[in-house]
């Protein structure tokens, strides 16, 4: 530890006084994740003097997701990214499992089209992808300041005028600050833009990276070459808690994890890693991962409240993007793409405001207009009732899988009952568990919430 409180060998270049040797920035981006880097890349590309402040040793070193990225939205920020970016496998198959204690119902969609470049989606590691993305922003002229925590915003006369970092003399000023700080919204709260993410709208994801030779992955998951699969599993997977399990194939590793609603998990006094271990022990999962060795364990929160838990996104001199802005579509497991798009829209807004010479909340609210017109707000509006719906219908994750499994088991068991008798028996079984009126109401609710 040096006298200045920096790590020995720190490469940070805010040595000494932050003001000295640094250009005056027009824009400061807090957080070097997908949303912040998309914003920085776009602004730097337009010739703006931009700094990205990242608390990790490199962009991505604090980041975690499932996960896969979707090509089309990513390419709207970084054209042709797939030719160079560190990608694992292109996802040609999406599997959906509904699990009970002793059975699995599977749905699967696979198409050759998802294997044609540019492919629809790729599995990635956030830590490697974001590092690459930061390099792209840097190549456009953005200034990367790593190993630096922004501890507070500088606010003067009702506007954000800069950031206070943890470094000695670490104040940095700019015309506008983009808050891309992620799900833990310390600064957004300090700016008075919202109360922070609430536990009933947060999911906790825990994940492991398991190593397995490439050939074994291809054999076990029925893949060839760089093809990949994304599996989502609901039901007993999460011990009946609202949430899902997931498996993504990477080149020579498997990403496996569970995501559960935080409040339900806390109320049930269940441990997240216990749910992960439980998922790994289910027979259909055990067979896929047997003989693997774990390489990394990680945890991250996901803001799934959408419009219910979104802070105000514009202040005088500041905009909020990505996870900090609650931009996650939980139903379609989309977050990084919304983060990238929101970062780009914030940047486009800032570029416009720079032309006007006006960074007031009113001028910056152009960002909200862009969001409203985009698929982001339209999707978030469409699915805004899902989280409250799931909270009202806990039976979806345990009772319904059980009933479906019982019905299918009866139907597929060949014994001495006639098919008519079997159908009657199944109807009776279903009705004994779920009264007709409730079934009808649930189906109607599901349709109304999702359709």
């Amino acid at each position: 530890m040096t006298a200045s409180g920096q790590k020995p060998g720190s490469t940070a270049y805010m040595a000494g006084a932050a003001g000295s040797g640094l250009p005056r920035f027009e824009a400061i981006v807090v957080g070097g994740g997908p949303s912040g880097l998309a914003a920085a890349y776009t602004m730097a590309d337009a010739g703006m003097r931009v700094a990205v402040i990242e608390r990790g040793d490199w962009s991505g070193s604090k980041n975690m997701m499932g996960g896969m990225i979707f090509t089309y939205p990513t390419a709207t920020v970084i054209p042709d990214f797939w030719k160079e970016a560190p990608l694992e496998r292109h996802i040609t198959r999406r599997d959906f499992w509904i699990c009970t204690k002793d059975a699995t119902i599977r749905g699967s969609y696979e198409t050759e089209d998802f294997g044609v470049e540019p492919c629809n989606a790729y599995s990635v590691f956030r830590s490697r992808f974001d590092k690459w993305l930061a390099g792209q922003a840097k190549a456009k002229g953005a200034y990367l300041i790593t190993e630096t925590l922004v501890e507070d915003l500088i606010q003067e006369n009702g506007r954000v005028t800069g950031v206070r970092t943890g470094r000695p003399d670490g104040d940095l000023r700019a015309d506008v600050v983009i808050l891309a700080e992620g799900v833990n919204t310390f600064l957004t709260e300090k700016a008075g833009l919202g109360p922070g993410m609430k536990s009933e709208y947060l999911a906790l994801g825990v994940k492991e990276i398991l190593s397995l030779p490439k050939e074994k992955i291809e054999d076990r998951f029925n893949l060839e070459g760089d093809q990949g699969v994304a599996i989502e599993a609901a039901g007993e997977t999460t011990a009946g808690l609202p949430g899902t399990g997931f498996i993504y194939t990477n080149r020579s590793t498997i990403s496996i994890g569970v995501g559960v609603m935080l409040k339900d998990m806390v109320d049930r006094v269940t441990e997240p890693y216990f749910l992960l271990e439980r998922f790994k022990e289910q027979p259909q999962v055990r067979r896929l991962i047997s003989g693997t060795s774990p390489l990394e364990y990680s945890a991250h929160l996901i803001p799934e409240g959408g419009l219910h838990n979104m802070p105000r996104l514009c202040a005088n001199g500041a905009l909020v993007v990505g996870d900090a802005a609650g931009m996650v579509n939980a139903v379609h497991t989309e977050g990084a793409n919304l983060a990238l798009l929101s970062g780009k829209m914030a940047a486009d807004t800032v570029i416009r405001c720079r032309g006007l010479g006006d960074y007031s909340a009113r001028a910056l609210s152009h960002y909200c207009d862009l969001l409203d017109q985009s698929l982001i707000m339209r999707d978030l509006k469409k699915y805004q009732d899902v989280a409250p719906f799931l909270a009202r219908h806990p039976q979806l994750f345990r009772l319904y899988p059980e009933v479906m499994s019982t019905a299918l088991k009866e139907l597929l068991t060949v014994d001495m009952l006639s098919k008519s008798d079997k159908h009657r028996l199944i109807a009776k079984l279903v009705h004994s568990e779920i009264p007709v009126r409730r079934l009808a109401r649930d189906i109607y609710d599901i349709w109304r919430t999702l359709a």
Binding site: N184, L204, L262
Partner: protein, 107 residues
């Protein structure tokens, strides 16, 4: 929170030490996590919720000393403890200083 049992503290069912051994950390010299009022842990919180909700088992209840210990060195910085992982909002979480804390190689 009415349905929560007020019986003796049940320890977590699984030890994550092995999992944390896979993760690269660069721990700072002092903790970025703090119990705001230890009396709440002692007298109000019978379940010791943080010892279950934290994915890194940073928080452990020491029955003999009647307090929660904090192994901040193994914190994954997810934010669970500040966002409902402690239903009594009795944990203050900050991020570690720049360059310190968890370092994901995959993420």
């Amino acid at each position: 929170m009415n349905d929560r049992k007020n019986d003796a503290w049940p320890p977590p069912a699984f030890d994550v030490t092995g999992k944390l051994g896979l993760v690269k950390f660069n721990p700072d010299g002092s903790s970025h996590l703090r119990i705001i009022d230890p009396e709440v842990c002692r007298k109000v919180c019978h379940q010791k919720f943080c010892t279950h909700s934290c994915p890194a088992q940073v928080y452990r209840w020491e029955p003999d000393e009647a307090l929660i210990t904090i192994s901040f060195e193994g914190c994954l910085e997810c934010g669970t403890c500040r966002s409902g992982g402690c239903p009594y909002a009795n944990i203050e979480m900050r991020y570690p200083r720049g360059g310190f804390g968890v370092q994901y190689r995959f993420g």
